[in-house]
């Protein structure tokens, strides 16, 4: 069971990303959704409609925060204003854990607004783990780091991506937001076997899983979150659930967003895998009890 200290021993099932085109549907129909993931930065503001909408959502649903600009791997320190606003939002939402990406994106106070890959070096391990620890201490809730899709690899790298991820989370003592679509995208772009990645992650640290679609170009794949999940990604998800047990799962769909029902139905396909391993776990317990 991946209900662990990295997701505050949550029983969250399958959620979807909270997106503006779906507000009307959500407010008028109040559909049953296990939880919503919000992009923290969209709500790190002082007032107005976005916060009012968030408060309406919080009255009805569980919300988990996901960030896109903490840049744990950046060499320059995070903006104190960013951290202050993030903590204010954490108090507002009551998010049981919070995630952001294992990447960098700002340097010397200038922001690229991209999730740029890190070189897999020991220097980057130390720097990133220290930053994750500091942020986790400041926010006083569990933090999970997400593996990103990448299109470039560095000549300086001293280990594989999964070895790098494992070193960072061990040293930071934090959770993992395992994005199986990102693993697939990177495996094509960097020519490795994605199952090696899934098999190497420390299952007990997986706080949450992301699933998503992507766009395939002639010579590379882009992580665009604008399509349904493809079968090879479901296979990675299947293996991840087999290893981690029932884990909070979130479908990301950020561009060319279809109707609420279409997104929600796509997300709920994950239940097939969650139930499959819940049943086999139950059978195992029953068999052990019978002996």
């Amino acid at each position: 069971m991946s209900s662990n200290r990295f997701n505050a021993f949550s029983n969250h099932g399958v959620g979807i990303g909270l997106r503006i085109p779906h507000y009307q549907d959500i407010f008028s129909r109040k559909p049953v959704v296990d939880w919503f993931e919000i992009i923290s930065e969209n709500f790190m503001i002082d007032g107005g409609r976005a916060l009012a909408n968030l408060d309406r959502i919080l009255e009805q649903y569980r919300v988990v925060q996901h960030g896109v600009s903490m840049y744990f791997g950046s060499v320059t320190e995070p903006d104190p204003e960013h951290l202050k606003r993030l903590k204010q939002l954490v108090r507002r939402t009551g998010t049981p854990w919070l995630s952001d990406h294992l990447c960098w994106g700002s340097v010397d106070g200038t922001y690229t607004h991209d999730l740029l890959p890190l070189p897999y070096t020991w220097e980057a391990v130390e720097r990133t783990a220290e930053r994750v620890r500091n942020v986790q201490d400041f926010l006083e809730i569990p933090v999970a780091v997400e593996n990103v899709s990448s299109y470039a690899a560095f000549t300086d790298s001293q280990m594989t991506e999964w070895e790098f991820l494992n070193e960072v989370v061990e040293r930071a003592d934090c959770g993992i937001l395992l994005d199986v679509n990102n693993i697939y995208v990177s495996s094509v772009n960097h020519e490795f076997n994605p199952m090696d990645y899934v098999n190497a992650i420390p299952a007990g640290r997986v706080a949450q899983i992301h699933i998503a679609g992507h766009s395939r170009y002639e010579r590379y794949i882009l992580d665009t979150h604008d399509h349904p999940v493809i079968d090879p990604v479901w296979q990675l998800y299947d293996r991840a659930i087999e290893r981690c047990g029932r884990t909070p799962t979130l479908l990301e769909w950020d561009d060319h967003i279809p109707s609420f029902d279409e997104v929600h139905n796509e997300a709920k396909k994950a239940n097939k895998f969650l139930h499959k391993y819940a049943e086999s776990a139950a059978e195992k317990v029953a068999a052990e009890a019978a002996q």
Binding site: I45, L51, V107, T112, L116, D156, R219
Partner: protein
């Protein structure tokens, strides 16, 4: 084990510089870096190839993604400016602005915070509609600020009646004061309606389509004093007098009430005997609109 050829800090500075360098007209990465080195060599100094892509091509993916993302975010916040100058000029001015002012904030919301000021200082990017373009940019940035700034509890009319000459006040945080050369607020409202309609008809924003500057109704230059504020989560514009505008601006600077009013009436043609009634009317309006608040505690303690 390999020893890294550059520090993490150097790698991040090198990559950020390459990623944030403007693309060519054909939307490719430039052949030379900002310091004149061949970009192929720069890319190969820290990025490994794979069987499909060279280091240059891999870096180019990030270079394109950066520009697509920031240009699209800026276009979303300044649809009126884009319509006034046309899509081609808007693209050029956006690239020049973002090259001069890469975002120093963790949020894309603040990307356009310097645009109006930058455009005022760089008239060549707006062409013959420069002054109007600056006005439109000011109004559109004020919209961003008004839309999601804080809303403090305003003073009631009864509380306002107790103020004296030395009272120091604060303005409602979402109230923005915008000095304009043209009465451009209605134009901006119309342009936003037009943009909303096009977006909903197309299903997506249309910043990728090439559009010439739109035909505009004749607007005569006229100093205009605009306030933007929020009611029930919607942004409204209100034209106010120069005196009212200057008084509000002085209050926002933390100047005591009597001095703020004196500042507001400098050079005013309003006869002295009508000013008291005028001030009373302003305060009645401000109380109704919720524009006057108490200053933050720390500013009172500092004084």
């Amino acid at each position: 084990m390999t020893v890294p050829s550059m520090s993490l800090a150097d790698l991040q500075r090198t990559m950020a510089s390459a990623v944030m360098q403007p693309l060519t007209a054909g939307e490719n990465m430039r052949a030379k870096s900002r310091d004149g080195r061949p970009m192929r060599k720069v890319a190969a100094s820290f990025i490994a190839p794979n069987s499909n892509l060279t280091p240059f091509e891999r870096l180019e993916i990030y270079n394109r993604q950066y520009w697509y993302r920031v240009l699209s975010a800026l276009a979303e916040d300044f649809p009126g400016l884009r319509a006034v100058v046309g899509s081609r000029k808007f693209h050029a001015l956006s690239v020049a602005y973002l090259d001069a002012h890469p975002n120093r904030s963790f949020t894309l919301r603040n990307l356009g915070s310097h645009l109006a000021q930058w455009l005022a200082a760089n008239p060549k990017y707006a062409g013959r509609r420069h002054a109007l373009a600056v006005d439109v940019a000011r109004i559109e940035w004020a919209f961003v600020e008004t839309f999601d700034s804080a809303e403090d509890t305003p003073l009631t009319a009864e509380q306002i009646a107790t103020l004296d000459a030395g009272s120091k006040l604060a303005l409602q945080p979402h109230l923005q004061l915008i000095p304009l050369s043209y009465p451009a607020d209605e134009l901006v409202l119309n342009l936003h309606q037009r943009d909303k309609k096009q977006t909903s008809e197309a299903g997506v924003a249309s910043e990728e389509d090439e559009e010439p500057p739109i035909a505009l109704p004749h607007l005569r230059k006229k100093p205009t004093w605009l306030a933007s504020h929020r009611v029930d989560f919607s942004v409204y514009y209100l034209r106010i007098s120069r005196e009212e505008f200057s008084t509000l601006a002085a209050i926002r600077q933390g100047i005591g009430l009597a001095d703020a009013l004196a500042t507001g009436f400098v050079g005013s043609r309003i006869p002295a005997e009508r000013r008291a009634a005028q001030v009373q009317q302003w305060f009645a309006n401000w109380a109704e609109l919720g524009w006057i608040c108490t200053p933050p505690l720390e500013s009172i303690i500092k004084d």
